[in-house]
């Protein structure tokens, strides 16, 4: 007798969710078209220049300083965002207050704003004669045209990532879990550190990873506030653009390749940590 299931692939479980083959194939094709092919051309382009040239350009003193700056400031900004983004998410998830919708929209603004606008606005604020800068300058604190300025710009553009990653998880974390901790005698502090924080940890890590990744690649807002001094406040994406402007395409792709591999390795690492923590929770 002819089973109605005989036409199906043997390794496929019958499922009510239709179209696995179609959607999976489409996802793969889409990823290839949008992500893999453009990235592959970077590899191919830089592969043309040979190892020694690649090392010379990709790991020149100026390039290494730029990587350090880019990854360092992105990590610092990611950390700041993790802390303060968590606070914002907490307030948005937990409390209702007049103007909450406006605050909610404000959080997303860095997504929508052209990054150059953010850069110009921040520079105007923090320049030694700017609104905030004029008070910081006498204290000997320079923000614009230093690393601090870069970090501030990256904090600005990275904030929504943390807030939007953590907020739904916080909202979903039942009030009853906190109440349970309270009935068992835990203080508010213990409840936060031992119950709430571990529960939102993976989401917070996601938010950090996204903010960090965005920070590493950020260009528009940073170039205005950083001052772009080679070896000091020159970020790696700017270095790539500089190379391109000098028609040194090989150099640009070499730096891009190094950045890409480093970024991928870091993001993969964060993903592995997440998979591990999720596995622990058995979810």
């Amino acid at each position: 007798m002819n089973s109605p299931f005989s036409k199906r692939n043997r390794w496929r479980q019958p499922s009510v969710l239709p179209g696995f083959g179609l959607t999976f194939g489409f996802s793969l094709g889409w990823l290839t078209l949008i992500v893999l092919i453009p990235l592959a051309t970077i590899f191919l382009k830089s592969a043309g220049m040979g190892w020694s040239d690649f090392i010379k350009v990709g790991f020149s003193e100026r390039a290494v300083a730029a990587y350090r700056l880019s990854f360092g400031t992105a990590a610092a900004a990611g950390l700041v965002n993790a802390i303060f983004g968590l606070l914002v998410a907490w307030v948005l998830a937990r409390y209702s207050f007049p103007g909450k919708k406006v605050v909610n929209a404000l959080v997303d603004l860095p997504f929508a704003l052209p990054t150059a606008v953010a850069g110009i606005a921040l520079t105007a604020l923090y320049a030694p004669n700017g609104w905030i800068g004029q008070y910081l300058d006498p204290l000997g604190i320079n923000v614009a045209f230093t690393r601090i300025g870069i970090i501030i710009a990256l904090v600005f553009i990275g904030l929504p990532f943390v807030v939007r990653s953590v907020e739904p998880v916080l909202a979903d974390l039942g009030k009853d879990v906190e109440e349970a901790a309270a009935t068992l005698g835990a203080t508010r502090h213990q409840t936060f550190t031992r119950v709430i924080f571990p529960a939102i940890g993976p989401a917070l890590l996601t938010g950090f990873a996204l903010a960090f990744a965005r920070g590493v690649g950020e260009y528009g807002s940073v170039i205005f506030i950083s001052g772009n001094m080679p070896g000091k406040t020159e970020i790696a994406p700017l270095l790539i653009v500089t190379q391109l402007e000098q028609y040194a395409y090989d150099g640009a792709t070499a730096i891009a390749t190094v950045m890409m591999i480093a970024s991928f390795a870091i993001l993969l690492g964060i993903n592995l940590i997440q998979a591990w923590s999720r596995g622990r929770a058995g979810a």
């Binding site: 009853d176 309270a182 068992l184 529960a199």
Partner: protein
């Protein structure tokens, strides 16, 4: 002893509890029974200290604990949806209450671990301490929640709809087991439920609530056999309600006089309540069954060890439910019968 005095609570404009008074003796197993919105959960949360009353007092052994925080009241609370800590193992969940104690009161790590293991054995989950809550079934999670609540040695155990999310079979086993545990540990327990069967089976006393007031407090026997109000009569157990009129000590359904004593009820509109099993059936022949409710059998099915007969009463335009012994020969659908309640209650409808 737990004493609740004149507790009132509003949520905005909504009166959740109105002037509640209740005394619970040590060792009692109390059910707070009522439909949703009756205030039963709010009352329990106020006793626990998770919610605070607008007025009134909560006393534990004569001591006013109204202003004490939940952590200082020494209550164990089992939440409806378990509220387990998902990122902790089962053993860590159970040990949580001990491990958050101040250093001077905290047992050693080895002792905490041993205690958690002991409690898991008590709730029949020995050997599952290293699992995570997500790897357990609903009934197992419920028992972890219970073990966690018991770990802090509460003087009072509060359970919010403890069996609500479980399937019928598991629920029944867990119910019996919980009753045993309550006696074995000498606890005082209060549980909230909307399931009257659960309340009747488990509790020493049942507190029936509706619309923020206590309708009746009593044993299962009292609440079932002598309901104090039409609400209790209707909510606890199955009931047939018939709108009647009392005139001159006689009960009338429209123009038909029913053969039921009105024992001293004042004249006026009233409700006649009787249980499906408190009836006599008679054929609709001439003379027989005068003074009963005439019905036409509309449906018949087996309900466990009984026959359930549903009869349409033309005079009321409503269905009357009747239980017959399994040994009886059930009537056919379409047959005319007369139902005479052998035991019934009359409630005046004007009062409430």
């Amino acid at each position: 002893m737990i004493t609740v005095q004149n507790i009132s609570k509003r949520f905005g404009d909504y009166p959740a509890l109105h002037n509640i008074n209740l005394t619970i003796e040590p060792g009692e197993f109390i059910a707070l029974l009522g439909p949703s919105g009756s205030g039963k959960t709010t009352l329990m949360r106020i006793i626990a200290g998770l919610e605070f009353q607008d007025s009134g007092h909560v006393l534990f052994d004569g001591e006013d604990v109204s202003t004490r925080k939940v952590a200082e009241r020494g209550v164990g609370f089992v939440f409806q949806h378990y509220a387990l800590f998902k990122h902790m193992t089962v053993a860590e969940n159970v040990a949580f209450g001990l491990s958050v104690r101040k250093r001077k009161d905290r047992p050693s790590k080895v002792d905490i671990k041993a205690r958690a293991e002991e409690l898991l054995g008590l709730v029949q989950l020995g050997g599952l301490g290293n699992r995570y809550p997500a790897q357990l079934s609903g009934g197992q999670r419920q028992r972890v929640a219970l073990a966690r609540a018991l770990a802090v040695e509460p003087q009072l155990l509060l359970l919010d709809e403890p069996f609500g999310a479980l399937d019928a079979k598991v629920r029944k086993d867990l119910r019996r087991w919980l009753r045993g545990l309550h006696e074995q540990m000498g606890l005082t327990s209060i549980f909230v439920t909307h399931d009257q069967e659960e309340a009747l089976e488990l509790a020493d006393r049942i507190v029936v609530m509706d619309h923020g007031v206590i309708e009746q407090v009593g044993t299962a026997e009292q609440v079932y056999m002598e309901p104090a109000s039409p609400f209790v009569s209707d909510f606890v157990g199955e009931i047939n309600r018939v709108d009647v009129t009392v005139t001159n000590g006689l009960i009338r359904l429209h123009d038909r006089q029913l053969d039921i004593p009105a024992n001293g009820h004042a004249d006026g509109p009233a409700q006649l309540h009787f249980r499906p099993h408190d009836v006599e059936l008679a054929g609709a022949g001439a003379g027989a069954g005068a003074g009963g409710l005439p019905i036409i059998v509309s449906n018949l099915f087996r309900k466990g060890g009984k026959w359930r007969v549903e009869g349409h009463c033309g005079a009321l335009d409503r269905v009357i439910e009747i239980d017959l012994d399994a040994a009886d020969t059930p009537p056919h659908v379409g047959v005319q019968l007369v139902v005479r309640p052998t035991k019934s209650r009359i409630f005046h409808t004007s009062g409430r």
